[in-house]
């Protein structure tokens, strides 16, 4: 990137500086630590200069936005054209309560919806299933049927606003609810936009809300890819996620390597079925964490884009649109403290800013009270305003990829890419992604990283403000979200009524057809939609699939 002779001179002058000025200063003013390492244990130097990135070729390795390798961004104007979507993940209790919260957030300026489901729903169980005991609505909204979905989106313009749904094991069925609800409202499948998370690989690795074993799960996912690009063209049928991997304790490099690796695996599976790579890849999306180390996070997002573009090119993608990575980001839940909760606002601001400087397409900012409970209205509003301040007041959105060319950022981006390929080698040696999961490779890496992080905090090698330093003994007083106590009963009654009043012949017929199709290899989405329209519940539909596919049991690794 720079003339070789000039770089040599810089190198020489830098050595002089290190000896004469830096070392001298260090004598009387020692640095705060013996060694500075970031959260991925990469050693960080005191200074980065042109010689650190002179091996990079601007046109080949860095390039321009909206052009291969998409390092600087996927759109030509990025935030000069349009801000990222302010998409606040939310959901709790019954559909009615969550519907109210959605309207509140939309009124306050959020530009996209994001649904959090409760645990029974995430596992494909109805509210009245024995395993749902005590869990109704606690960490998300309970959706057991099309009826609940109708209530959830009542009076919300789903033809104009997009919806992201964090659902994995039963994603195809819940997507079915959403599509059916739109259809019933006269809104065509062509028009609705959104995302289903639908990323089973990271469930096995980190989040653990799977239902079926790997092969049938992958089959269902490719079914959704296929159905999506044919019938629901504006829908992202997967959000390949690193957020949860990070939350489970991984380093930033691991998050990057495992997530993009999962992405490549999905592409290969879809291609195995014979799908055209340029047809389905435009609707693959990603989901990353925004953690504490500001510059590492920014470098991570940029590296992700470049790696993805390169890999898709290798796999044969021809169109530009196929190769660029769009992603959603959420600020790190695991970085929030229960102690002195207001200070989480400062954390979230820095993390949100990193995501923006990294070029995210959509962002969720955590609320300050989330280490204690689900966000209250006020806390969620402050989190939303944080995004709006970054967007409107900070000036960072006035140019594309403002940190491009920074010696540190480009060096770190490159380093993270290098480390990613090292991880991929190790996975290859284990036989690939699924064998590596079975052998517990990812799980062990994550558990080790999580343990090291905790030890670093316990030994004060890393400072966690309010937790191991700057502590206060004050009682934690913060208004906690109250939920409607009658919600669960209401839901169960609704379910009972639904099961009684539906056309039970149609219901039985559609479930039978789904079972037969599941035993074969047809695309299951049309069959699922039929069941949904017949008001089969989530649990009933998933049970058919459980019967045919079996249930996954994890190789317990720690």
């Amino acid at each position: 990137m720079f003339k070789e002779k000039y770089i040599d001179e810089i190198k020489k002058k830098k050595k002089d500086w290190e000896k004469n000025i830096y070392a001298k200063y260090l004598k009387n003013h020692p640095e705060r630590k013996k060694e500075f390492t970031n959260l991925s244990n990469t050693k960080i130097k005191p200074l980065y200069s042109p010689d650190d990135i002179s091996h990079l070729d601007y046109l080949k390795d860095i390039g321009f936005p909206a052009e291969f390798p998409f390092l600087r961004g996927v759109h030509a104007t990025m935030y000069r054209g349009r801000f990222w979507t302010f998409r606040m993940f939310s959901g709790f209790g019954s559909a009615e309560e969550t519907n109210k919260r959605y309207k509140y957030l939309l009124d306050h300026g959020e530009t996209g919806l994001s649904v959090a489901f409760d645990y029974p729903t995430l596992y494909g169980h109805d509210t009245d299933h024995p395993l749902s005991r005590g869990e109704f609505g606690k960490c998300g909204v309970a959706i057991s049927s099309l009826k609940d979905m109708e209530i959830l989106f009542k009076d919300i313009p789903i033809d104009k606003v997009t919806t992201s749904m964090t659902i994995n094991g039963p994603a195809a069925v819940v997507w079915g609810f959403y599509i059916a609800n739109a259809e019933n409202r006269g809104i065509s499948k062509d028009v609705i936009g959104g995302t289903i998370q639908n990323d089973i690989l990271k469930e096995y690795i980190a989040q653990k809300s799977w239902i079926f074993p790997p092969e049938p799960s992958m089959r269902l996912i490719v079914d959704t890819f296929e159905y999506g690009f044919k019938h629901v063209p504006k829908w992202n049928t997967i959000s390949i996620s690193g957020y949860h991997i990070r939350e489970a304790g991984s380093t930033a490099v691991q998050e990057l390597a495992f997530t993009v690796g999962d992405g490549v695996e999905y592409v290969k599976w879809a291609m195995k079925r014979g799908l055209d790579i340029d047809k389905f890849t435009p609707r693959l999306s990603f989901f990353f964490n925004a953690h504490n180390d500001f510059f590492e996070e920014i470098a991570k997002y940029r590296a992700a884009r470049r790696i993805w573009a390169k890999e898709l090119k290798k796999l044969g993608a021809k169109k530009s649109r196929s190769m660029f990575m769009r992603f959603h980001t959420q600020t790190a839940g695991c970085s929030l403290t229960a102690q002195q909760p207001e200070i989480n606002i400062a954390r979230v601001t820095l993390q949100g800013l990193a995501a923006v400087l990294g070029g995210t397409q959509s962002l969720h900012t955590n609320s300050m009270d989330e280490a204690l409970a689900l966000p209250s209205e006020k806390a969620a509003r402050i989190a939303l305003r944080t995004q709006q301040i970054i967007a409107e007041e900070s000036g960072v959105t006035d140019t594309v990829d403002p940190l491009g060319g920074s010696y540190y950022i480009e060096w770190l981006t490159d380093k993270m890419e290098e480390e990613t390929y090292k991880y991929w080698d190790r996975v290859e040696k284990l036989g690939g992604v699924l064998p590596a999961i079975e052998k517990g490779f990812y799980q062990r890496e994550i558990a080790n990283a999580a343990y090291k992080y905790q030890k670093d905090i316990d030994e004060k090698k890393r400072i966690f403000v309010g937790v191991n330093e700057y502590k206060m003994d004050e009682p934690i007083e913060i208004p906690i979200l109250e939920m409607d106590e009658k919600g669960e009963e209401r839901q169960i009654n609704r379910l009972k009524k639904l099961r009684k009043n539906r056309n039970n012949q149609k219901y039985e017929r559609t479930l039978k057809a789904l079972r037969k199709a599941a035993e074969g290899d047809e695309n299951l989405m049309p069959y699922i939609l039929d069941c949904v329209h017949a008001y089969a519940t989530l649990g009933e539909t998933c049970q058919v699939l459980r019967d045919v596919f079996g249930e996954y049991e994890e190789p317990a690794i720690y």
């Binding site: 052998k439 049991e553 190789p555 317990a556 720690y558």
Partner: protein, 313 residues
């Protein structure tokens, strides 16, 4: 008769569990109870299972147990994991791999740490086998630490010893050389759906030929895919065959005597070590001796002479 011993003979799970704890901690109550229950032992078929980590021992045990349960038999499982030599603690992770057996009151699972003992077992294992036997379990399965080379102690305690290998696990045949190969009554090639299975079976066959040429019984080699419940019915049959074989030949008595010898030696060893190291007057002496050995003022043999001299006086 000791109260806890009576409850154990009745099969009460809490008493079984409590006695195991007491036996592990060398509690005197345990010794008295063990004396009471010994006459009631000898009925259970003791199966030892060894193999490297990742060979699928826990899954296989799960499947075997399921089949035994179908036959109406009750099963006790002892799952042993290594105790950390540094902290003295242990992560006992086998139970979690046998979750399918939860809530079946015909199955009793106990997780144990090696607590410093080498050889893949724990020094209390003899007691625990007897406790489970006396409580009425038809089958007692001992799953050892999957380390490989030093796994031979299982042969002292089990009537039937299974050695599990897995194709493609590189070292799994290598680690079976010397000693471990000789202890198997049955070989199991698990995860037999892997591509390299034929090669692995061939390697085991050739090793069997070498070690078995002088023996009467040809050691069977079975292929299983425990996760898919394949080959387990056949394995169970072979285990039963072996049980009949040793009962009909002198092997059974030989095996039992072998176990009692090991058990007796272990009890004596524990008592001696307790006596020497836990009796406070001797403990002080030992610290001094260790100081001297470290400074090369004395050697370990002389130190031993001193200690033993005092005791044998």
């Amino acid at each position: 008769m000791n109260d806890i011993a009576k409850k154990v003979l009745d099969g009460d799970p809490r008493s079984i569990a409590r006695l195991i704890t007491l036996a592990e901690s060398n509690d005197l109550v345990a010794t008295s109870a063990m004396k009471n229950i010994h006459p009631h032992t000898g009925k259970a078929h003791v199966i030892g299972i060894t193999g490297v980590m990742g060979s699928g021992k826990s899954t296989l045990i799960c499947e075997l147990t399921r089949l035994y349960r179908k036959q109406g038999k009750t099963v006790g499982i002892i799952a042993i994991d290594p105790t950390s030599p540094f902290s003295g603690g242990a992560l006992l992770g086998d139970r979690v791999r046998m979750m399918d057996l939860a809530m079946d009151d015909g199955v009793f699972i106990r997780s144990m740490g090696t607590r410093g003992m080498l050889g893949g077992l724990t020094s209390a294992v003899y007691d625990v086998v007897e406790i489970l036997d006396a409580s009425g379990k038809d089958v007692v399965i001992v799953e050892t630490v999957g380390v490989g080379q030093a796994e031979v102690d299982i042969v002292k305690i089990a009537d039937t010893t299974l050695v599990i290998v897995v194709p493609g696990l590189g070292d799994s045949i290598q680690t079976l050389k010397a000693g471990v190969m000789e202890i198997a009554d049955i070989y199991v090639v698990n995860k037999a759906d892997r591509p390299e299975v034929n090669q692995t079976v061939a390697e085991v066959e050739s090793l069997v030929d070498i070690t078995c040429s002088e023996k009467e019984r040809k050691i069977p080699i079975l292929s299983t895919v425990a996760k898919q419940s394949k080959g387990v019915v056949e394995l169970l049959k072979e285990i039963d065959n072996h049980k009949k074989y040793i009962k009909n030949t002198k092997e059974f008595e030989k095996q039992r005597r072998f176990r009692y010898e090991a058990e007796l030696v272990e009890i004596i060893r524990k008592r001696l070590m307790n006596f020497i190291f836990d009796e406070s007057k001797f403990k002080i002496k030992i610290e001094n001796l260790l100081d001297q050995i470290s400074k090369k003022e004395m050697d370990p043999y002389t130190a031993a002479d001193e200690i033993l001299g005092k005791i044998l006086k």
